[in-house]
Symmetry: C2
Subunit: 594 residues, 2 copies
Amino acid sequence: MADYKAPLTDMQYLFREILPWETLQELPGYQELDTELADAVLEEGARFSEEVLAPVNRSGDEQGCRLEAGRVHTPEGFPDAYQRYARGGWPAINCDPEHGGQGLPRTLSFLLEEMVCGANLSFGIYQLLTQGAYHAINIHGSEELKSTYLEALASGRWAGTMCLTEPQSGTDLGLLRSRATPIEAGGYRLTGSKIFISAGDHDLTENIIHLVLARTPDAPAGVRGISLFVVPARQLNEDGSPGKDNGISCSALEHKMGIRASSTCVLSFEDAQAELLGELHGGLRGMFTMMNLARLSVGVQGIGIAGAAYHAAVTYARERLQGRDLHGARFPEQAADPLMVHPDIRRMLLTMRAWTEGARALILRVAAALDVSLEHPDPECRRDNHEFVSLMTPIVKSLCTDIGFDVANLAVQIYGGHGYIRENGVEQYVRDARITQIYEGANGIQALDLVGRKLPEHTGRNLRHFFHPLQANLESWQQEPQLQQLVEPLAKAFGRLQRATAQLALKGLQDPVQAAAPASEYLRLFGLVAIGQSWVQMAESCLQPESQPNPAFCQAKLDTASFYMRHILPLSSGLFASIMAGADALEAFDEDAF
Amino acid sequence: MADYKAPLTDMQYLFREILPWETLQELPGYQELDTELADAVLEEGARFSEEVLAPVNRSGDEQGCRLEAGRVHTPEGFPDAYQRYARGGWPAINCDPEHGGQGLPRTLSFLLEEMVCGANLSFGIYQLLTQGAYHAINIHGSEELKSTYLEALASGRWAGTMCLTEPQSGTDLGLLRSRATPIEAGGYRLTGSKIFISAGDHDLTENIIHLVLARTPDAPAGVRGISLFVVPARQLNEDGSPGKDNGISCSALEHKMGIRASSTCVLSFEDAQAELLGELHGGLRGMFTMMNLARLSVGVQGIGIAGAAYHAAVTYARERLQGRDLHGARFPEQAADPLMVHPDIRRMLLTMRAWTEGARALILRVAAALDVSLEHPDPECRRDNHEFVSLMTPIVKSLCTDIGFDVANLAVQIYGGHGYIRENGVEQYVRDARITQIYEGANGIQALDLVGRKLPEHTGRNLRHFFHPLQANLESWQQEPQLQQLVEPLAKAFGRLQRATAQLALKGLQDPVQAAAPASEYLRLFGLVAIGQSWVQMAESCLQPESQPNPAFCQAKLDTASFYMRHILPLSSGLFASIMAGADALEAFDEDAF
């Protein structure tokens, strides 16, 4: 099988050329960051992912996690890789310097996450959960909670989880039943059963900090009665070190399609000591802090897998000899030409490349806005960027995970029968990627979030943070003759998106089903346009002579942009037609007839 | 997990209402067949699939096949299920009565195959290979070969395989190296190494008849030097019973993404006794006899999985309570409404249904033509139907397996996190379905077969067997006001297909890459139109009052047809645009830049 290779050149290019440096340099995180430092961090991250994490990816899948005597053991090599990860300071990369973090911006940490998850998604999940817990406590926690937990999480000594789902309560959190009862001495005792808890137990850290949604005894029904609690697996001693067990047991491990080295636990909480995080009955807010960050990170995971699968497929298409170039033998001295010469193989490779690089650029654009939304001195600028991120979060999560899955499948297709054999590693990408379309809010839920919440929010202002800059982009690009063949199809697709948006807004006001029914198609149309915009941005930068240290690299960008516009963006027309057809066919169908 | 349920009502409806009975009744296979008999056979097949094959599907996946002391053991319950299958006469269903078969038409046997593979794809594969061997020997074999092998294959006492692939030779059969040396006493000795041999060894039958591609010593290079041989696993005694081992050993079993209960073997042939099947150096012809039939059957497998996944998803969407109807609580007495009420879930279910039922109808149309092509008394009618089948084979194989995979994935999405857990069974559909897009000619190869062989063949006559009847259909349907909303989009998509065909023909003449590059998209456009035609055929039949024993069934067909036209067929516009954009973007890309 092909070794994992981080897409370092593309990442370094994006970091240098695509980020809005004028704005970013006003941020604290960027004041000490120049492109040399960023290059060095990315190179180190690439090396670590390739040399430490990738080698235990397939063995981790084969072995899976084991539950023995109530404790979860991760596969061989995982504890060691984790120790090296923590020692290298990677968990702290975007944490607050105040709490032992390195304070690097999201733009950089998302690229590192992409490498980690491309090399080993199961490994990446442990870290994602820890980060989520860190940020939720950092944003919503009291000073005491912060000083108790943040440094240990940032250092990687302790890990985190998000405990939401219960057997009867998945997407519908209003149904959850776990109970937290206040105790006289202060704090709560939490009892309940949670399922699908990623990293719920493992042997990587000395403690695990669960963030748990539960109801207090007199809480109102539904989601308005949910609170968020911090519940350590081991209670803390006076000196803050982990002490005795806190009444949490892992009663089962799920056997899953993929991410088999990531533990997915059934957890029972019995009178576990718990502390309230954030406001009483305000649990959803805290949870969404984790969730929104996690959703972007899940999009990053999708592109991590896509990048890994693309690299594997290219390697195979160069090495595997089969058939002849239709224009005549390319290597007559060999028994056959490499797969690469076949147009259908090239079509698949270019499709993979256009989706993956386009989505990576889009994610970086959103990551930059996230950094600005968190750190910029100007509150209006923070707000605008927050709204943009909020709008784009469901799109990044859903689109990029669909891309991860589709690109992984194309890699299997290029490998042919060899791709179906576990030994060759590419089918694992498919199985691993599949969860990203489901967890942290299934992709259909993302689409409903986009259409039902993000579009109408602030009377549509979120949307303007995408539409207006794109409109301005198009006007400026239309002055540039070399961009015409890219800009024209993008403008057309944008027109479709605008009309589809108007239809959804109008019809959705009369009947929410009219907006909900085509939500997934609308999200995808939106994503196609957003990635198209990223492609023209890249093409524009590659046309500038001063940014062309590598003319072959720039030519490849221009050619891929052109492929995207001609062969992928046209999908927008079918989506548009389907959206405009409304929800009548869907509503007409008798439920009993399914 | 949901039990398998065969789509019996739909199958019986299609068999009664959609088949061209006037033509079929002239065939020997149909002379004793009325719809009552067909109904009874289908009911029996459904019961067998549901009660015998489905229960060992998931356990078979968990256990997989084992290689012990050089022999392959199928999972628990497989040998027993196989014995019951053989005793029930199922292997013989479409075999020649002369050789112990039941002589039933393909129209019926494809529906039965769909049930078998929907219930248990791994099981179905063993049978598919046996059928392939049976038909190849029946068509190309000498009388002696026929009398030696056919009855034992038809009875299921012996099984068959197709041994094509070698490590260096997959799609490119010209590279294969296995050698068959003639011996003085007659016959050949065959030596070589084969990989990916489905059903290459197992414990289901007392003998396995391998059909093996190999070269004779003085054969020309490339595919023109390949011959096909019959090579039994155990040599035959004088009385025809299996005797001593024939020098064939299974040196390894592949560990695969799915179809884990189907053995995929590395086989070594060492001086195995072999007999030539068909003409010397004419091996590809014989192989393609198996292959073409097998390709249609693989399309059937795809729809088998799609039907199973659809049923599982509908069951779950009815049972699982989560969230509320956007129009207000549907079941206020329950904690939540069933998934079914959500528009995005209904969209997925209708998408699954529209693809699956449409593809099933298309397959049955092709199966009917296959029966006519094999059995009709009029040679011209046989030829026309053969050409139609030949044209449609790559479309059925590729499109229906893509549908199988996509529908299985939608089932997982509807199950959410629960779909990712092995225990619930739906993720197995995804893993099992994935191979169907690869084996018997990867789907990209099907597209090249369509564009490079089937379109130009007989100066385009094949195509007319699809275009002319559709044109006639459209003209007649346009007279029918109730069909207008279906016919109009179909006519539009057909126009796109016609223009895309003209472009491919024209550009492909100048440069074969121009036809090869968009081949996959062209195939899908073709398939969209073909399934659209099937949907209008069904809608038409459901509008006729005499064919409406079940008005709810007919209304569901009409509504699904309408959904297909509004929400799926529009995909044709994006495919069309991509095809018309030509191959320039593909060819421009520098190979070294991948």
